[in-house]
C-alpha cells in the first residue's frame, strides 16, 4: 500500500500538524518508504494468532477509589502558555 498527496494532507490534519504544500511530496516519499518497509509483514501467517495486548500476563492492580490529591489548580496551570484565574485559555471556540 502507498499514500498519495491527498492522503498525506488528510493524515496531517488528523494528526493536527500543519503541512505546507511544498512539504507534501517529501513527506509522501518518507511515509511510502516506511510503508514499503513494513509491507513484509503481510507474508507472516497470523491465522488464529491473538494480538499481543499485554506484555506481562498479570491482573491489573486497582487503587482504592479515594481522593488522595487535589486543591493544586495553581500547580496544574503553572506551565500553561496562557491562563486566567487557574483556567487554561484557548482561542474562542463558541460564538
Amino acid at each position: 500500500m502507498s499514500v498519495d498527496a491527498t492522503t498525506v494532507r488528510r493524515i496531517a490534519h488528523l494528526a493536527r500538524i500543519a503541512v505546507s504544500d511544498a512539504e507534501v511530496p517529501h513527506l509522501q516519499g518518507e511515509l511510502n518508504a516506511m510503508l514499503a518497509f513494513v509491507e513484509q509483514l503481510s507474508e507472516v501467517d497470523i491465522e488464529g494468532v491473538e494480538p499481543m495486548t499485554s506484555v506481562t500476563p498479570m491482573e491489573m492492580k486497582k487503587r482504592a477509589d479515594v481522593v488522595n490529591d487535589g486543591e493544586i489548580a495553581d500547580v496544574i496551570v503553572r506551565n500553561a502558555p496562557d491562563t486566567v484565574n487557574d483556567f487554561f485559555l484557548v482561542p474562542k471556540v463558541v460564538e
Binding site: M1, V3, T7, H13, A33, V38, V55, R63, A80, K92
Partner: protein, 491 residues
C-alpha cells in the same frame, strides 16, 4: 589522589565510606569535568547548585552512618525523566521550558538512596532516534573516535547523552530509557554497560511517554557491577504505573561474580545476517567462547520471526507515539503558536514544535490507526508481536537461560552519515535490540571488543522475564574476559 571521576560507583562507595574523600569533593570533580567537556553536548542542563546541595546533604548522612546505597554518587539524568522544579524537555521544542511540579518515580528512588543530580542529559527528541541527532539541542558527540581520525561520531541513541557522559567520565552513571534499543545501542557505541530491564520492572511514571507498551527505564554505567547497583535503586513496584510489577527487587549486585556453570546459552541462527561485518561475527563467537570457558553450555537456537520484529515495531511504536503525543496541544504546557482558531493553533503549534523524525512517526502512527487501516497494520503487527514473544518462550522452555547476540550491526558512525535519504537506514541500527522490546524481555549490552578502527563493539544478552540477575552474572563474565575500555581524552 587519583582522579575522582575515573572511579567506578563501587569504588567511590568505598572511598566515601572510608572517608578518603567527601561527596562534595566527588561532585565538584564531576562538575569541573562537565564544564570542560561542553563540546560533547552531553548535558542539556547543568544543575551545579542542586548537585552541591545534595552532595553536602549526603556527606551529613554518611557521617551519621545512614547514607543509603547511593549516598553521594553523582548521576546524570536523561531529559526524558521529569525532575521536580528542574526543566524537563524530552529534548523537544514543543515542551519548551516545561518545569515539572513532580518527580519521576525512578529518579525519586535514586534521590531516596542518596544519589546526587548533576544535570539533565541530551537524547533524541522524545527518544525517537538511534544517533542522538534528532534532539532540539543538537547532536551529542561520542568521546570515541576512529584511530588517527578527527571525525565526529554519534554516541548512538536515543540515550546518547547518557552514554556519552558515562563514557567521558562526566557522571558515574546515568538513567536512560529503551523503547527499541535506546539503552543498549548507545552503550555498545561507547563501551559502557546498559541494561533494559523486563517490561514492568521499573515504573514508567513521570517519564515522558513514547510507546507505552515498549518503554522501559534502565541504567547506563561503566561496569556491570555499577549497572547492578543502579538497577536495584531504580526498580520496584509503583502503584502509579499499572504495568509495573509487584514482585520483590533482588540484590542485583549479589549476582556479580556468581558462577554461570552449566547455564544454557542460546545462539540464535537468525541473528547471523547476510553481509554482517566479519569483526561483529568474530566478536560474537569470542563472546560465546568466553561464556563456554566459564562453564556455560552453548546451544544453537531458532527465533524464526526475528526479521519481522523491526517492521512490526515501526507500526506499533509510531501508533502508540501518535496517541501519546496528542497531549502536546499548546494548551496545558509547552509551546503555543497562534492560529485563527483553535484547530489552527493546534496545527501550527505541533508543526513548529515537533522535529522531522517525530512528525514522521506521528504521521505514520496516525495513518496505521486511521479508519480502514487498523486491521491491516496495527492489528497485524500486534499478532506478529505475539509470534515474536512465542519464539523466545519456546526457546526458554527448552531450558535456555539466556541468549547471546551482537548488540549492534556496526560500530558508531559519523554525524550526518545515516538516514538522510531513507529513514529506514537509521532504523536498521536496532535490528538486534528491538526484538527484546517487542517481547518485553530484559537485555543487557556489555563492551566486548573493538573494531579494526579502534571503536568499541558490544554484545547483548537476552534473559528470561524478570531474570536480570542471570544477565548481570553473564555480563560480568564477558567484562572480565574482554576487559574495560576507556576513550582517550581529546576534549
Amino acid at each position: 589522589m587519583t582522579d575522582l571521576t575515573s572511579l567506578t560507583i563501587a569504588e567511590a562507595r568505598e572511598g566515601l565510606a572510608s572517608k578518603s574523600f567527601t561527596a562534595r569533593e566527588l561532585t565538584d570533580a564531576h562538575l569541573a569535568a562537565i564544564e570542560a567537556a561542553r563540546v560533547l553536548n552531553a548535558y542539556v542542563l547543568e544543575t551545579p547548585d542542586r548537585a552541591r546541595e545534595m552532595a553536602m546533604a549526603a556527606d551529613v548522612k554518611i557521617a551519621r552512618g545512614d547514607g543509603g546505597p547511593l549516598a553521594g554518587i553523582p548521576l546524570g539524568i536523561k531529559d526524558l525523566f521529569a525532575t521536580r522544579d528542574i526543566r524537563t524537555t524530552a529534548c523537544s521544542k514543543i515542551l519548551g521550558n516545561f518545569i515539572p511540579p513532580y518527580e519521576s518515580t525512578v529518579t525519586s528512588q535514586l534521590w531516596r538512596d542518596g544519589a546526587v543530580l548533576l544535570g539533565k542529559l541530551n537524547n533524541d527528541e522524545f527518544a525517537m532516534g538511534s544517533s542522538n541527532e534528532t534532539s532540539c539541542f543538537g547532536p551529542v558527540t561520542n568521546p570515541w573516535r576512529r584511530e588517527g581520525s578527527n571525525t565526529t561520531l554519534v554516541p548512538g541513541g536515543s540515550s546518547g547523552g547518557s552514554a556519552s557522559a558515562v563514557a567521558a567520565l562526566l557522571c558515574m552513571g546515568a538513567t536512560a530509557t529503551d523503547t527499541g534499543g535506546s539503552i543498549r545501542q548507545p552503550a555498545a557505541f561507547t563501551a559502557t554497560v546498559g541494561i533494559k530491564p523486563t517490561y514492568g520492572r521499573c515504573s514508567r511514571w513521570g517519564i515522558v511517554a513514547f510507546a507505552s507498551s515498549l518503554d522501559q527505564a534502565g541504567p547506563i554505567a561503566r561496569t556491570t557491577r555499577d549497572a547492578a547497583i543502579l538497577m536495584r535503586s531504580m526498580a520496584g513496584h509503583d502503584p502509579k504505573d499499572t504495568t509495573s510489577v509487584d514482585i520483590a527487587v533482588p540484590d542485583y549486585e549479589a549476582a556479580i561474580g556468581k558462577s554461570v556453570k552449566s547455564m544454557k546459552i542460546g545462539i540464535p541462527r537468525e541473528y547471523r545476517l547476510d553481509g554482517m561485518p566479519a569483526e561483529i561475527e568474530k566478536l560474537w563467537s569470542e563472546g560465546a567462547q568466553w561464556l563456554k570457558a566459564a562453564g556455560a553450555e552453548l546451544v544453537e537456537v531458532s527465533l524464526p520471526h526475528t526479521k519481522y520484529a523491526l517492521p512490526a515495531y515501526y507500526i506499533v511504536a509510531p501508533a502508540e507515539a501518535s496517541s501519546n503525543l496528542a497531549r502536546y496541544d499548546g494548551v496545558r504546557y509547552g509551546l503555543r503558536d497562534p492560529g485563527k482558531n483553535i484547530i489552527e493553533m493546534y496545527e501550527n503549534t505541533r508543526a513548529d514544535g515537533f522535529g522531522d523524525e517525530v512528525r514522521r512517526r506521528v504521521l505514520i502512527g496516525t495513518y496505521v490507526l486511521s479508519a480502514g487501516y487498523y486491521d491491516a497494520y496495527y492489528l497485524r503487527a500486534q499478532k506478529v508481536r505475539t509470534l515474536i514473544k512465542k519464539d523466545f518462550e519456546d526457546c526458554f522452555a527448552k531450558g535456555v537461560n539466556a541468549i547471546l547476540t551482537p548488540a549492534t550491526p556496526s560500530a558508531a558512525f559519523g554525524i550526518g552519515e545515516k538516514g538522510g535519504a531513507d529513514p529506514v537506514e537509521m532504523y536498521l541500527n536496532d535490528i538486534f535490540t528491538v526484538t527484546v522490546n517487542m517481547a518485553g524481555l530484559p537485555g543487557i549490552a556489555v563492551p566486548a571488543g573493538k573494531d579494526t578502527q579502534g571503536l568499541p563493539l558490544g554484545l547483548q544478552l537476552i534473559g528470561r522475564p524478570f531474570d536480570e540477575e542471570t544477565l548481570f552474572s553473564l555480563g560480568e563474565v564477558i567484562e572480565q574476559a574482554a576487559g574495560r575500555f576507556t576513550a582517550p581524552k581529546w576534549w
